[in-house]
Structure formats: structure tokens, C-alpha cells
């Protein structure tokens, strides 16, 4: 039947018709524009408004930027060159480049030191940031970096950071030694250490009790509040007087007892070792070594530092210090012990409830009162203490979120494996909780880095302080604002944006579930 049919048909097409191109309105750029930009009257208006804003920005910024004067000695010279046309005066950046980056007091011939420290920071951070690609032995370099950076930035003798490093390594050796001892040897060590620690603690508590009594007598004069405070301090003092000997005996005994499993005695011995070495070993050893082989850089004081360098220093130091503190606070807040939990909650909520500026005021005018007379902590250190406390409270909240997000089964599984609290936390809980908390921690870190500009309020000369003070108030560059502020904004943008991009990348890397 098909044969007959074929003969009657005049034409049979044997090849496929090539597909005709889609209508012009439905293809390529035109389609994309139509669907994305002009799909309705509202969308069209939005597109036009957005285009108008973009064009205004471009018209405003481009001539200003490309007419910019890069070579002039003062703002008046700049205006002479521009002769009334719009144009930026980037000459201020060229003229005050060093001030913007290093502050106006840092010795000029030592600019290579912070620059090198900055380059090394990036190099040293690499093994930690990209740990999945770089062998873990390079992390040793990361661990050595703080000592090197300290020496580069503050100068002085190289032997000081080396001696501190040696003290830390020796402490590690002591830890391993005590841990590896046979029980009978360790019992002897535990007896000696327990005795020393018990006596030392009792003596410290005795001093504390005296101090509390002293406080109670000096606050007693001022009204009802003073009387109450005086009573509280008297109570604390009596409490300490009663307990200083039992506490000493108890702690000594506890250390002695721990000889069999070696937990407490190892930690206490290491602590004693490191404190003795730090207090009495590092100073003499480093000065003797420096006498034999002097390796010195010109010493720079912290108050000579400024500019963007100060922001970077504060940011790097405070972030790295506040993460461990934040972990401790978060674990404390999760604790079953009401007292420890209470202390952590009060600390976190207090710090989160006040602005950073008030804490910086504390660092500036109040903190010195809390240290022994004449201890003379410098402002940089006081600011570091306060900013670290500040960001630690925020990081603690982020990590608490991570801890709370872990399924209860993880805790129970760790318990059923027979792990104790330290092991469970270190091996099971924290690795997972920290992984969940990475985006939050990065957010806090970026916020903290931005907040370092606030130190300009307490007359430290970071980049904003430099612009507001020495640059805007100099006769050459009086009240210039767009160029230096945009420069500062660009510096911060580059750092913060790259950090947040890194965190997003890391989040994708750590994603172990399937989406």
C-alpha cells in the first residue's frame, strides 16, 4: 500500500528542513533585554531609574577621577593646575602616602619593616587559609610569624622573641616529659609541685585577703552605698582568711593525687615552668645573648605607629586573640555549672550591650587605674585588651550558635565512647561547631577590622585619625576630604571584601552534605 502511495505523490522530502532562526524579538541580546529589563511597565520604569542613577554617577565621577592631579605640593597648587575644571586632587595621596600608611611618627628609614611584616602576614596566613592544598608542615611558619612580626614592628633585640619562643618550646618539652614519666617518678614530681603550688596559692590568697580588708576600710566612708560595699568586701576578706590554708592544702593534695593519671600535675608543672621562664628567664637570657651576638633593629614605640598599619595590627592581633577567648566564653556559657555560666553570661551580655567607644574610653582613661601603680601599660596594649574583650563576646555568641546547632546525638555519642569532657570537646564538638560558625566568625572579624577606625576617637592616629588630624589640619591640605577618605574607604573595602569572598569560598569547600 505504501508503494502505490509513493508513486502518486509528486515530491517527497528526504532531508530535514534546517531550523529557521528564531524571530529577532525572541533571540540573543534583544530577548534578554526584553525579558530582563523591559518586561512590564513597572520593570521598565525601574530600569530607566537605575540607568539614570548609573549615568549620574558616571558623569559625576569620571571627569573628576580622570582629571585628577597627581603632582602638586598643596591644595592651592592643585586648584591652580585645574583652573576651575572639576578634578580630584590625588596629589595629597602622593604627598602623604607614608603618613596614610605608617603614621607620622614611624621612623622613615624603617618603613621596609612594616611592609615586610605585611607581606609575610599574607605568606604566613596561606597555610592556614588554604590548608587543604598546602602541606601542614608549613603551619610551623605560621606559628613562627607572630614572633618575627613583633620583632619587625617594634624592633629591639631579636633575642627577646627568640627567648620567648624558646620558653614556649621548653614548656612543651616539660609537658611531654611529665606526661611520659612512670607513675613512681611522677609521684615524686607531683609531691614537689603540689607542695610548691599549694604554698604559693595559699600565700597569694593571704595577700588577697589583706587586700580585700584594705579595700573595705577605704570605701567605708561614702554613704550607705559605701557601707554596703565595705561590708561585701569585709565578707569576702573573711571568707578568704578562712579558706586560704584549706585551699592551698586542697590544691596541693589534688595535684599530688593526680600523679596516677597525670592530668593536673602535667598542666600545673607546665604552667609553673612557663611563668618562671617568662618572669626570670627571658630577660637575662636575651640580654646575655644579645651581648654575645647583637642582632638589633631600631626600637619603635607603639605610640609612634599609625596609619593603615595600625588598623591592620589591631585587626590581626585582636582577631587572633579573641577567637580562643570566644571559644572559652562560649563553652563557659554552655556549662552546667551555674557560677561559671553566670560569669560568662554577664560578661558577654555586658560587653555586647555597650558601644565599642565606651570600652575604648575605658582603655584610654580608666584601665590604668586597675593595674598596679606605675605599671604603665602603653595605650596600644590597653586598646588591644579592650577590643579583644569586645570581639570575644561577639565571637562567643556566634560559636554558641554553632554549639547549639549540633545535634544532641553528637554529645551523647562522644559520652558513650567514654571520652571525657576535654576529649569530647576537642575531638568531636568543637571541630563541628567551629565549622558551622565560620561565616559568623568571619563577619565578626570583618566588623572588628572596620571598628579599628574608632581608635581615632581616643587620639590614636590610625588612617582616619591621620586624615582628620595631621592632613586636614595642615596648611597645605586644609580641609581636603574626598580624596583621602576615598583612599581609606578603598583600603578597607579591598581587605574586607576579600575576607568575605574567602569565607564564602571556604563555606563551599567545607560543605560535606549533598545539595
Amino acid at each position: 500500500m505504501s508503494d502505490t502511495h509513493a508513486q502518486t505523490v509528486a515530491f517527497v522530502r528526504e532531508t530535514e528542513i534546517p531550523p529557521s532562526p528564531p524571530p529577532a524579538m525572541e533571540a540573543g541580546a534583544v530577548k534578554w533585554v526584553r525579558e530582563n529589563l523591559f518586561s512590564g511597565w513597572f520593570n521598565t520604569i525601574m530600569t530607566l531609574v537605575a540607568l539614570y542613577i548609573i549615568i549620574r554617577i558616571v558623569i559625576g565621577v569620571f571627569p573628576w577621577f580622570f582629571n585628577g592631579v597627581w603632582d602638586a605640593g598643596s591644595i592651592r597648587e592643585c586648584r591652580d593646575i585645574l583652573q576651575g575644571t572639576t578634578g580630584a586632587c590625588f596629589a595629597v595621596l602622593v604627598d602623604r602616602w607614608d603618613h596614610l600608611l605608617f603614621g607620622f611618627n614611624y621612623p622613615q628609614d624603617a618603613y621596609w619593616r612594616p611592609t615586610l611584616a605585611f607581606v609575610l602576614l599574607i605568606v604566613a596566613a596561606m597555610p592556614a587559609l588554604f590548608y587543604m592544598y598546602i602541606p601542614s608542615k608549613f603551619l610551623i611558619g605560621t606559628a613562627l610569624y607572630p614572633f618575627l612580626a613583633y620583632w619587625l614592628l617594634w624592633g629591639g633585640s631579636l633575642w627577646v622573641p627568640i627567648a620567648v619562643l624558646a620558653a614556649i618550646i621548653l614548656t612543651g618539652v616539660v609537658f611531654r616529659l611529665v606526661e611520659g614519666m612512670t607513675v613512681s617518678t611522677r609521684t615524686v614530681v607531683a609531691g614537689i609541685v603540689g607542695l610548691a603550688a599549694g604554698v604559693g596559692l595559699a600565700y597569694l590568697l593571704y595577700l588577697g585577703a589583706q587586700e580585700l580588708w584594705f579595700i573595705s576600710t577605704s570605701v567605708g566612708q561614702a554613704g550607705l552605698f559605701g557601707t554596703i560595699m565595705s561590708l561585701v568586701f569585709k565578707l569576702c576578706s573573711v571568707f578568704t582568711y578562712v579558706f586560704f590554708i584549706p585551699m592551698g592544702i586542697f590544691v596541693g593534695y589534688a595535684i599530688y593525687q593526680s600523679a596516677s593519671d597525670g592530668g593536673l600535675v602535667t598542666v600545673v608543672t607546665s604552667l609553673i615552668a612557663i611563668s618562671v621562664m617568662m618572669l626570670y628567664g627571658v630577660g637575662p637570657v636575651s640580654s646575655v645573648l644579645n651581648g654575645i651576638i647583637p642582632i638589633e633593629l631600631e626600637a619603635v614605640e607603639s605610640r609612634q605607629m599609625g596609619g593603615f598599619m595600625l588598623c591592620m595590627m589591631l585587626g590581626a592581633v585582636c582577631v587572633s586573640l579573641s577567637i580562643p577567648l570566644g571559644i572559652v566564653l562560649a563553652l563557659g556559657r554552655q556549662s552546667d555549672m551555674p557560677l561559671i555560666k553566670g560569669v560568662c553570661v554577664v560578661f558577654i551580655e555586658f560587653v555586647r550591650g555597650v558601644p565599642l567607644i565606651t570600652l575604648l574610653f575605658v582603655a584610654n582613661v580608666m584601665l590604668a587605674y586597675f593595674f598596679p601603680p606605675g605599671s604603665g601599660l602603653d595605650l596600644f596594649l590597653r586598646v588591644v585588651i579592650m577590643i579583644t574583650m569586645f570581639s570575644a563576646a561577639y565571637i562567643a555568641e556566634v560559636i554558641r550558635g554553632g554549639l547549639a546547632a549540633l545535634p544532641k546525638g553528637q554529645y551523647e555519642a562522644a559520652d558513650s565512647l567514654g571520652l571525657n569532657y576535654t576529649q569530647a570537646t576537642r575531638l568531636i564538638i568543637l571541630p563541628q561547631a567551629l565549622k558551622i560558625s565560620i561565616p559568623g566568625i568571619v563577619n565578626v572579624a570583618v566588623g572588628l577590622f572596620k571598628d579599628t577606625t574608632l581608635v581615632s576617637v581616643i587620639s590614636m592616629f590610625d588612617i582616619v585619625g591621620m586624615i582628620r588630624g595631621p592632613i586636614q589640619q595642615s596648611t597645605d591640605w586644609i580641609s581636603i576630604y574626598w580624596e583621602p577618605y576615598l583612599f581609606a574607604a578603598t583600603c578597607f573595602f579591598i581587605v574586607c571584601y576579600s575576607i568575605s569572598q574567602y569565607s564564602q569560598w571556604l563555606e563551599r569547600q567545607l560543605q560535606t552534605d549533598h545539595h
Binding site: 530600569t47 542613577i53 588577697g208 580585700l212 550591650g353 555597650v354 586597675f370 577606625t453 576617637v457 568575605s500
Partner: protein
């Protein structure tokens, strides 16, 4: 689990050994807490002793008597009566109100910016969404202090000074039919003057607002009971404006406006909004708006696509899907981070000190501290104030959040 642990105790409850304080989990936590208590007391002894010694050495004492003494300085924005003869305590109060003013304004404005930017960032319109992500990234990644200073500098350098408004051919002119003057000292707005009978107008206005709510209730009832759609939007607008304006006209304009006018070297009359307030307000709003935009975007994206599709299958139109289905659910995700953004605004408003806006940090923590030298007292008061405000905001917002929360069984 408890029976296992309790068993040995009942068996040998008499034999308590000292080593149990360390090795028995029931007593160990007590031991740790006792040690912690001793450590806290020792810390207090260290800090308190140093404090007392340092204070006696400097010849200082802790006293709040300075709050009653005359302050001797002026404040450029006074929500309540204040002059340089008023006490330091009153200066602190003025500063406190100024903080609350700028925080409130910035919270409202930041929410508006944030919601608009967050919704537009999800728009299908490529240019608009890119523009919004540009805004968010630029403002989120630069310190707010720099934004405050940039906006403040632009205001005082670009806006005309009051003297430019003088003369026959002034270099600058007022906006909106000569009612608003934008100068580098601030913005001058018309100020309402309450004449006789203005209370009636206000009462009518209040009544019409109540009327709007009643009408909306009625409309909802009609919809639920009879399935009738009563138009709500235009009647509400009408109710809002018409009765009050009619009363105003009938009573012969009891509420009048006093316009700012140039007298001498500055504008007089009208309401002044300081340049520093505007810079701080705008900078806080646009900076925090970028963060809120991210929260809003995350909130909307957290609602699964199935919700939108289901609403579409029910025949709802896109704007109704957004307002009736997506936003109410997204709000539950958005509100908690929004609360912390409001807290951030309140705390960041202390940056007022950088532009000379006299908030509580500027009065109590600034000039009062410098004049009296009472660092500890003023800073403690300052912290107490911010702590109270933060706790109050989070308290009320938590109540609100709990009411919004999904009622689960």
C-alpha cells in the same frame, strides 16, 4: 542513668572521701565552682586594691556629686530646656534624648532602605539587582565612621552657607517655595504654630486614624463573612487627609507654619535640623540599610519556592503572593537579625562624637568628663545607659518576636 549513679551513694553514703571532690562527677563541678569563686574574689581583690591605691595616690574619690553642679557649656540641640547654668545631670539627660532621637530616626530610615534594597536585589531586572548588590557591598565593607565623616564633610563643603542666601541675586535659594533652607549649618524647616482650636484639628486627625483601623476591620469582616472585596487603599488615604484638612479650613486655619527666614547671619524661626544630625542619621541609615538588605534577602530566600508556586496555583497574583504568603513568613526569619541591627544603630550612634553631635557620649562622656575629670563615674554612667537601652530594646523586640512566631503545637 540516675539510678546507676545513685546506687553506690546509698550503699556507702557515710564514707565520703576527700578524693571524691576531684574524681566523683557529682562533687567535681562543686569543686570547680568553688575554685572559680575564689579566683573571682582574688581578681576583685587585685583590681579593687589597685583602684583604691591609684585613686588615693591621685587624690581622687568616687562621687557623683558633680551631676548636680552647673555644667557651664552649651549644647547645640536641645529637646528639653537647657542652658549653660543647668547641671551636668541635665546635660547628660539632653545628650541621652539626642541619642534616642538619632537612633530612632536612623532605625526607621535604615529599615526603609534595607527593605527596598533587599527586595530589589532579588528582582529579575538585571540592572536593578546589580545596582543594589553594588550598594550593599560598597557600604558593608567600609567602616561606618568613614561614611559619617564623608557625608558630614560633603554637607559642610557643598551646601551653601547662610550668607549665600542674602542679597538681591543670591548664590543659593530656598527649596519648596521658599520654605526649606538647606545650608552647611543644617536644614531649616517650617515649624507648626499651634493657634486656638488646633486641638480640635488634632482630635479630628486622631479620630480619622481610629476610623481607618475600624474601616479596615470592617473590610476584613466583609471579606471573611460575605466574600466581598471592599476597596481599602484609597478610602484609607481619603480618611487620613480629608477630615483633618476640612476641619482646618472650616476653623479658619488654626495651625499655621512659621517659615525660616534669614535674619542677620543665620536663619531664624522654623525647626533646625543640625548638619551633624543629618550626617549621622543618613550615614547610619545607609550603612545599616546595607546589612538589613542582606537580612531581608536571606529571609525571602529562606521561604521555599513551593510556597510561591502553591500560592500561584491558588490563583493569587504576584503582588498578593508577596504580601500575603511570602512576606509574613519571611518576617519571622528577618526580625531577629533586624533587632540586632537596631541595637547596632543605637550603639553606633555614639560615633556622634566624631562630628560634634551632642549625644550622651558627647555630653557625659565628652565635655563633662573633660571638665570634671571624673573618668570612672562618667564612663560607668555611660555604660549603664547604653546597657539599659540595649536591654530594653531587645526586651521589647523579643516580646514582638514571640508574638510573630509560628504558633506550634
Amino acid at each position: 542513668m540516675t539510678t546507676l549513679a545513685d546506687q553506690p551513694v546509698t550503699a556507702s553514703s557515710g564514707s565520703f572521701k576527700l578524693s571524691m571532690l576531684l574524681n566523683d562527677t557529682r562533687y567535681r563541678s562543686l569543686t570547680f565552682q568553688f575554685i572559680a569563686l575564689v579566683a573571682i574574689i582574688a581578681f576583685m581583690a587585685f583590681v579593687g586594691g589597685n583602684l583604691v591605691r591609684n585613686l588615693t595616690e591621685a587624690g581622687l574619690n568616687i562621687s557623683y556629686a558633680f551631676l548636680g553642679e552647673p555644667s557651664g557649656y552649651d549644647i547645640n540641640q536641645r529637646p528639653i530646656e537647657y542652658d549653660s547654668q543647668s547641671s551636668h545631670g541635665r546635660a547628660a539627660l539632653v545628650g541621652l534624648l539626642n541619642t534616642l532621637i538619632v537612633a530612632f530616626l536612623a532605625c526607621v530610615t535604615a529599615t526603609i532602605f534595607g527593605v527596598i534594597a533587599g527586595v530589589l536585589r532579588l528582582s529579575n531586572n538585571w540592572i536593578v539587582s546589580k545596582l543594589m548588590s553594588f550598594y550593599v557591598e560598597i557600604f558593608r565593607n567600609v567602616p561606618v565612621l568613614i561614611w559619617i565623616l564623608i557625608i558630614f564633610s560633603v554637607m559642610i563643603n557643598v551646601a551653601p552657607s547662610p550668607r549665600d542666601f542674602r542679597g538681591d541675586d543670591p548664590a543659593a535659594s530656598m527649596w519648596l517655595f521658599d520654605t526649606v533652607a538647606v545650608t552647611n549649618r543644617g536644614v531649616y524647616l517650617p515649624k507648626p504654630v499651634w493657634g486656638d482650636g488646633s486641638m480640635i484639628v488634632l482630635a479630628v486627625f486622631a479620630a480619622s486614624i481610629i476610623g481607618i483601623f475600624a474601616f479596615r476591620n470592617y473590610a476584613r469582616k466583609q471579606l471573611f463573612d460575605h466574600g466581598r472585596m471592599v476597596p481599602v487603599f484609597w478610602p484609607s488615604i481619603g480618611l487620613f487627609f480629608i477630615p483633618a484638612i476640612l476641619t482646618q479650613l472650616v476653623l479658619g486655619n488654626p495651625i499655621t507654619l512659621s517659615y525660616p527666614s534669614l535674619q542677620g547671619f543665620n536663619f531664624r524661626g522654623g525647626i533646625t535640623i543640625l548638619g551633624s544630625l543629618i550626617a549621622l542619621w543618613f550615614a547610619l541609615a545607609i550603612y545599616t540599610g546595607a546589612f538589613i538588605a542582606e537580612n531581608v534577602r536571606a529571609g525571602i530566600q529562606a521561604i521555599s519556592k513551593g510556597q510561591t508556586e502553591a500560592a500561584g496555583a491558588l490563583g493569587l497574583r504576584p503582588n498578593r503572593i508577596m504580601s500575603l504568603v511570602v512576606l509574613p513568613q519571611a518576617l519571622r526569619v528577618i526580625i531577629p537579625p533586624l533587632i540586632s541591627q537596631y541595637l547596632n544603630i543605637t550603639k553606633n550612634s555614639s560615633l556622634a562624637i566624631a562630628v560634634g553631635y551632642m549625644d550622651v557620649t558627647g555630653t557625659l562622656g565628652g565635655i563633662t568628663l573633660l571638665q570634671t575629670g571624673r573618668a570612672i563615674e562618667t564612663i560607668l554612667l555611660l555604660m549603664a545607659f547604653y546597657l539599659t537601652v540595649s536591654l530594653l530594646i531587645s526586651f521589647f523586640m523579643n516580646i514582638f518576636n514571640n508574638r510573630m512566631k509560628l504558633q506550634e503545637r
